[in-house]
């Protein structure tokens, strides 16, 4: 999938406090620890709880120089489905790009609703988060889903990054959320 210099850019959409930035950071830590070149950065806007926020990842097998924001992502991740009505999450998404959404809906529902030709992946992350963490914080579930869909970073490195980041109990619960996100995401063509 990745040729030399075949940069992959990911844009995460969430709301302040939902952990989009943390998810992007964990993805970068895992990728780098596996030997990739990667980058995670927050969008450079106001940090307010509840406001739409973005976070970015870049992944490559050569050093990454660019440090501007991501305008033409290969992958868009929507952590909070209510953002679909507020923000044009598809802005700049490449023609053959992938959209990963936290939703109870099916791939066909989403395709029909948005009238899209993109590759679509869906995951009911809220349900998984409630079952694994007891709270509707879906970032780690989405991280698992993203890891599966992108397919370049191994789950074990993601789980190590989760362990490094959270306290013992939280890391155990979040590791479960990541694993379920990884296993239960539905990927369309």
């Amino acid at each position: 999938m990745l040729e030399d210099g075949g940069l992959i850019e990911i844009r995460w959409h969430g709301r302040g406090g939902q952990g989009a930035v943390t998810a992007a950071e964990l993805f970068a830590h895992a990728a780098i620890n596996q030997g990739w070149y990667a980058q995670a950065s927050p969008s450079f806007g106001p940090e307010r709880r509840g406001a739409p926020v973005m976070a970015y990842n870049r992944l490559d097998n050569v050093p990454i120089g660019i440090r501007s924001e991501v305008y033409e992502p290969d992958v868009v991740v929507v952590i909070d489905p209510s953002l679909l009505k507020m923000v044009n999450v598809l802005e700049g998404l490449k023609e053959n790009g992938t959209l990963i959404i936290n939703t109870r809906k099916t791939i066909n529902d989403i395709r029909g609703e948005l009238g899209l030709n993109y590759r679509i992946a869906v995951i009911d992350a809220k349900k998984i988060a409630l079952e694994t963490l007891g709270v509707p914080i879906v970032n780690t579930t989405m991280l698992g889903a993203v890891t599966r869909v992108i397919g370049l970073v191994d789950l074990e490195f993601i789980l190590d990054a989760v362990k490094e980041r959270f306290s013992a109990k939280a890391s155990e619960m979040n590791a479960k959320a990541v694993a379920r996100g990884f296993n239960e995401v539905k990927i369309g063509e």
Binding site: Y37, S41, G65, E69
Partner: protein, 393 residues
């Protein structure tokens, strides 16, 4: 052996400071610098770093505490940004004028008004004449390496000057990247475990530093400061060479990219050089002869290196992340144009101002800058005025 890790650039600074075994840290938190000193406070609290961490009520006090500690012979670090650096302004001169080695991380941030916590280089540019050595870092590796090197440079008895290691707020500080670390044994081979202070403010040998100096002597003192800062360049180059010989990463005052056959170059300081190189690659694919120059050492200014390089091209675009208010363009533009004036073969020099208050500088922006500077290079004359990139008015 150092290993390859994943780290936020701000924490790369903290890690270097820990490995440098500092004695005293005095700092006041301010975005986007806070992560640096938060991590240092953790190191001190959990015993990983045996240092005095002085909580202060302002940046003015932070620098004052650093000045006292450095005068007493300690290895000293602080870090700030934006308004914090502005509040230190007065004390920056005291540190440099009294020849006090202090290392400071500057997470470059815009100056108020309006209230803006995001990145540009207005803060350090407003203090550029404070007598400090000023180095600009692009990424986690450079933040780490230059912070470590800064202690060795600052404390060298041929230098004895404070060093500011500057890196863009958010676009560098808050980015997670790979870093090749050094372990303690490697750092100890490069940097003495403790500072060997030649001159110390101590009750055992009472002395007065920075007393009144009238018209009869102030000129001589200021000139000696200027000599010290200018001659620090040889030591900076020597330390960078030694670091390279030990660890394989070599640094120079200017870093060039595809300049060998270039008709025109874009010159910039800091993190956006990385984005600039991507734009250069794209323009090269279109057959355009353009390159990029990253100015790493800003003070002392690498006069000869800049002359040698830029007199070979037809036009230079200088991209500043700051305004020199009421002046002729950006502050770095002023420097570049100034030192080329007496050269027989001098290029046209164009001023672009971009990336203020955290505004992104994109590949497209660099391409537009590239087109303009190539056009001037081809025509051989310029009616260029200061060009503010991405302005909506």
């Amino acid at each position: 052996m150092g290993k390859r890790i994943s780290i936020e650039c701000a924490h790369a600074a903290s890690l270097a400071v820990k490995l440098a075994n500092v004695d005293v840290i005095a700092a006041y938190p301010i975005t986007p610098q806070t992560h640096i000193v938060e991590r240092l406070a953790e190191y001190v609290a959990n015993g990983e770093l045996d240092a005095e961490y002085i909580n202060v009520e302002s940046e003015h006090s932070a620098m004052s505490a650093c000045i006292g500690a450095s005068a007493a012979g300690a290895r000293v670090y602080t870090s700030t940004a934006g308004q914090g650096l502005a509040l230190m302004h007065e004390m920056l001169f005291i540190a440099a004028g009294n020849r006090l080695p202090i290392v400071m991380g500057v997470a470059n941030r815009s100056l108020s008004p309006n209230l803006n916590i995001w990145g540009d280089q207005s803060d350090m540019m407003a203090s550029r004449d404070c007598g400090w050595i000023q180095i600009y870092a692009e990424n986690a590796q450079e933040v780490f390496d230059h912070t470590l090197q800064a202690f060795k440079i600052a404390e060298d008895e041929r230098v004895l000057l404070p060093v500011a290691v500057c890196f863009d707020g958010f676009h560098v500080t808050h980015v997670i990247e790979p870093l090749i670390t050094l372990d303690q044994e490697e750092v100890d081979r490069f940097l003495p475990k403790h500072r060997k202070a030649v001159y110390k403010l101590t009750p055992d040998q009472p002395s007065t530093w920075g007393p009144v100096a009238g018209p009869d002597i102030q000129t001589e003192l200021k000139v000696q400061n200027e000599w010290a800062l200018n001659s620090s360049k040889d030591v900076i180059l020597e330390v960078w060479r030694e670091f390279g010989d030990l660890f394989g990463r070599y640094y120079a005052p200017l870093e060039t990219y595809k300049v060998e056959d270039a008709d025109a170059v874009i010159l910039i300081l800091g993190g956006f050089a990385g984005t600039g190189r991507v734009a250069i690659d794209k323009m090269r694919e279109e057959g355009k002869k353009i390159g990029l120059v990253k100015l790493r050492l800003y003070r002392p200014f690498p006069i000869q290196e800049v002359k040698d390089l830029l007199t070979r091209v037809k036009a230079v675009a200088v991209v500043d992340r700051a305004i020199s208010a009421g002046g002729l363009g950006g502050p770095v533009y002023g420097d570049i144009r100034n030192i080329l004036y007496d050269e027989e073969h001098r290029p046209k020099v164009l001023s672009f101002i971009a990336g203020l208050g955290g505004r992104d500088i994109t590949v497209k922006d660099f391409k537009r800058i590239g087109e303009k500077v190539l056009d001037v290079a081809a025509k051989g004359h310029s009616e260029h005025k200061v060009d503010f990139i991405q302005v909506r008015i």
